[in-house]
Assembly symmetry: C2
Homo-oligomer: 386 residues x 2
């Protein structure tokens, strides 16, 4: 089976989320990932609940398909193994605090001199440069400092965090982009590069609309609950049995929405244009809900979809995992145990490629140091026996 | 100046956000991006507020550095130009509804037969396969159906959307990963591939913790406001002058936090371990705030940082754009106008690479069809005159 990154070896010193999420994607695209863990406890997330038969479901979801070797990078024998691995790796990933790799004798300058073609990908809270480079960060700190909390939640109430750890996730995704670009660059130049991605930078890079508003008007946007700040109607509405979403992003869609609801509003000057609808959003919401409250969500979603108006349910995560489109796209996969039996469930690979298999299961998440013998054997023989 | 993707030509049919955000990243990494727009109005976002001197700040923030040519893909003369461009492009991007490219005669099968090395990247709401492939989607629909709204907001209140359009953003980022992986794959096989990314799939792929909890326990998580659902203390706290964040992710950090606050809680059985702290989170929050309410945020942030406890302010977007670390990382750049003067402000490139320039300004966003003459000249002469 051909896979796009099948020729790449990733040596992965990362732990917790941002880095392991990056190497998960590289692995799903075909790279071989060797996870180098701290002896004794390994990646912190091995101890994160929930557990199943003593193994962390969280660790499994983000580390399936990787190999594990435990190395003490301060001990000579293990450093020799690590040096040997470095000589074979295409990409080294780490998410230590800036400076840790230098203290270990594996800083970028040293590595680049020894292994000029090695690509070095680092992800950290604030990056490897700037006054706050050395400060510790977690997702929560970056969501707060990076501005996304200030635009998420209800106006007039305290800010809330995004329920997914997007501070880590976005940085891990930029790290993947950076190291893949460096692989393409290396094909031309023969040289590896250091890729330095900060969680804080990554979050800012994705604020799009809020940055444009702030810089053009001087006033930062406030949270707007379940509404889009500048498109109407583009929010949640009450049906007889709960909330659902309508996103009528332009005048034509608004006219179709009015048709479905039997509301003669498409030419009403209060609602004829998007700016007018934004000015009268509260009135419009009530006029729409006066209709939608009479019937269940499914009634409205079916009719609006038939009319081509973007709409849908608000699903909890259990519902998402049973969504017929998600299942049809093979977006829920089994993570196998060492016996080849399904042990955990994880999200599938969202990058679907022609001519590339999209398997319905994943190789197990590794036991700590579980691939040591195979990796050492491979290093000695120069043959991939695993 | 060398740039990692300098040899790549991206032919970009995308509009609004997910696709243009992907080609923005490819451009920031050095690819030449030719934006092919609908004659007359072009990309919808050219009409999105806010405006400055009649130009959309939103459009500029996401389309700087690209070239524009307006082509009617149903008109013979323009199709000939497009065919010519296809013969030179490495990557074609589109975010039409599935089926539109086939109707235009530019479906993947046709293109792949004519241009076997061309990489075709598509991003859509629900993907090119599955029962809902043809349904329309906006970010709001995907955030609702994809589960992130169900875990964002306050418990017991209506769900809220994430303030940034992460339904589009995440899909655009996966599209970049996919096409870069396809470029690497092509170097080995000589063949282009179709990359098919769905907004709904992309959102699910980033829910990490929520997926693990749901599949391991059978119960989907609920929104938890500004708190992390399974780490304590990892949330907002009131100081004398407002809210700030403390993220003490393990016992050692909690002990340091207690030291700074003068709270003798590190060995208190109610708070000695993370599970205990989660069970007693409401009590702990009050004990901490009984101390933090007496002094301003800056007092606590300074002391906690000195002790190595992750902490920080909750910044609005204006504050983020003036954050000293953000500025030190060159994460706020000028977008120039045609006269070379700063016209707009945009987020910088979060992928920092050794040996690659990280300029403080960006080439202008193109006028609609503004590069037609230069592009036609280049096609005729076979020389890049732009």
């Amino acid at each position: 089976m051909t896979r796009p990154l099948q020729d790449l070896l990733v040596l992965d010193l990362t732990h917790v989320l941002a880095g392991p999420f990056a190497s998960l994607t590289l692995g799903d695209l075909g790279a071989r990932v060797i996870k180098v863990e701290r002896p004794g406890t390994g990646d912190d997330t091995r101890a994160f609940p929930p557990f199943k038969d003593g193994a962390s479901a969280y660790f499994a979801a983000i580390n399936h398909g990787k190999q594990s070797i435990a190395l003490d990078l301060k001990a000579e024998a293990d450093r020799a193994i690590f040096d040997n691995l470095l000589g074979r790796a295409d990409i080294l990933l780490e998410n230590f605090r800036p400076g840790v790799m230098e203290k270990l004798g594996y800083g970028w300058e040293t590595l680049h001199a020894r292994h000029p073609a090695l690509i070095y990908g680092a992800v950290s809270g604030f990056g490897h440069t700037g006054p706050d480079a050395h400060r510790p960060a977690y997702d929560m700190v970056v969501q707060a400092r990076g501005g996304v909390m200030s635009i998420t939640g209800e106006a007039g109430r305290e800010p809330v965090r995004v329920g997914a750890s997007i501070g880590d996730i976005l940085a891990g995704m930029y790290l993947v982009q950076g190291v893949l670009a460096a692989v393409i660059d290396r094909a031309r130049t023969g040289n590896g590069r250091k890729v330095d991605v900060a969680m804080l930078d990554s979050l800012l890079a994705t604020l799009e609309h809020a940055v444009a508003i702030t810089t053009a008007t001087g006033t930062p946007p406030e949270p707007s609950g379940a509404r889009h700040p500048s498109i109407t109607p583009f929010e949640t509405f009450h049906a007889a049995d709960g909330l659902f979403v309508i996103a009528a992003g332009n005048d034509a869609l608004f006219a179709r929405l009015c048709d479905v609801l039997g509301l003669p509003l498409a030419r009403d000057p209060r609602f004829a244009t998007n700016p007018a609808r934004c000015d009268n959003a509260r009135t419009l919401k009530r006029l729409i809900e006066a209709i939608t409250l009479d019937r269940p969500k499914s009634h409205w979603i079916e009719r609006l979809e038939a009319a081509g108006v973007p709409t849908g349910p608000i699903q909890n995560v259990a519902e998402v995992l049973h969504d017929h489109q998600i299942l049809a796209r093979n977006m829920v996969v089994d993570v196998l145990d060492a016996q080849g039996q399904p042990a955990f469930v994880a999200a599938g690979n969202p990058i679907k490629m022609s001519g590339i298999a999209d398997p319905m299961s994943r190789a197990p998440a590794p036991a700590l140091d579980g691939d040591r013998a195979a990796i050492l054997d491979w290093l000695q023989k120069g043959v991939n026996t695993v």
